[in-house]
């Protein structure tokens, strides 16, 4: 439970940067809050506002965000083995199935898996949404370019990528190269989807 709460603080700061990034991309404060309430998976949310903010189509933005959210489905399959949930609670469990709740649940002692998952998921949900509101409201009061918010979003994506680099650096490098090649050739948003092809060599190899 203590780990969930300290994680909550870190998530608050991340949520505030999402709120700010959404406003920079042209979302209203209400729209930024709706994304956090309904989508509730950080990397996908950042991807959506980044693609739309760069002038990408709705289809490209939604596709990037949903593909990034695919890993939550894998988390859910792993969690259902350890946490039995029935009925309407299953919908709630699904919505709070994210990186943080899965990490805490799968690294807690077996007797605490249940508590770790629910506490972390619900704490992060509340903190994430409150901090999105604070970040979005503050960002709408300033000039985003003058305070460097656009640069901060790039660094935020790097921060999300960082812990994955140890295992997946070849795929990340491939994705980066494909995106660089695709930027001049395709409309905004499409380079991110093209980069997804970088996983194919790893899937074909056994």
């Amino acid at each position: 439970m203590r780990r969930s709460l300290s994680l909550g603080v870190a998530v608050g700061l991340y949520g505030a940067s999402f709120g700010a990034a959404a406003v920079v991309a042209g979302f209203s404060v209400v729209q930024a809050c709706a994304v956090s309430l309904l989508v509730f998976t950080g990397a996908s949310q950042f991807a959506l506002v980044s693609v739309l903010g760069a002038g990408g189509s709705v289809a490209a933005g939604v596709a990037s965000a949903v593909l990034l959210g695919g890993r939550n489905g894998l988390y859910a399959v792993i969690l259902k083995e350890r946490i039995p949930v029935r009925g309407w609670r299953r919908a709630v469990a699904a919505q709070i199935t994210i990186d943080e709740s899965t990490a805490i649940a799968t690294t807690s002692p077996p007797a605490w898996t249940h508590v770790g998952f629910w506490w972390t998921g619900l704490t992060v949900y509340v903190v994430w949404n409150l901090s999105t509101l604070v970040g979005a409201a503050s960002a709408s009061a300033v000039d985003p370019a003058a305070v460097g918010l656009d640069g901060a979003v790039g660094a935020a994506f790097l921060g999300l990528l960082w812990p994955r680099l140890r295992e997946a650096w070849p795929v990340a490098l491939g994705g980066a190269v494909l995106a660089l090649v695709a930027v001049p050739l395709t409309p905004p948003g499409i380079p991110v989807l093209v980069a997804g092809l970088a996983v194919l060599p790893a899937l074909v190899r056994r």
Binding site: L13, F46, R90, A152, A172
Partner: protein, 99 residues
């Protein structure tokens, strides 16, 4: 336009989460599915770093955002917390633009 994107993304992301809770756990026996779900975020996030920092519409540009990225990378390498990474990156771009 933004609202439809928000609702479609919400439906898609919740769909994956709910599907995971609904399908039998034998899907984990398929290594390709597991690999795709763990590797895809790395490819997409790397591409988002590129487009967020270097793209301006359809052209590649070098501006203050590159300095942000370098400062962010330095902070991550020094294992500083996420907020420090983001704030330092923002401050770097703001400083370059104020020069």
């Amino acid at each position: 336009m933004i609202w439809s994107a928000v609702l479609l993304t919400a439906a898609g992301c919740f769909g994956f989460k709910a599907a995971g809770w609904a399908v039998p756990s034998t899907v984990l026996d398929r290594p390709a599915l597991r690999k795709a779900a763990t590797l895809l975020p790395a490819a997409l996030l790397a591409a988002l770093v590129i487009t967020q920092v270097f793209a301006h519409g359809r052209s590649l540009t070098l501006d203050a955002r590159v300095v942000s990225l370098a400062v962010g990378a330095l902070c991550l390498w020094r294992r500083l917390p996420f907020l420090v990474v983001v704030l330092a990156a923002a401050a770097a771009a703001a400083a370059v633009r104020a020069l």
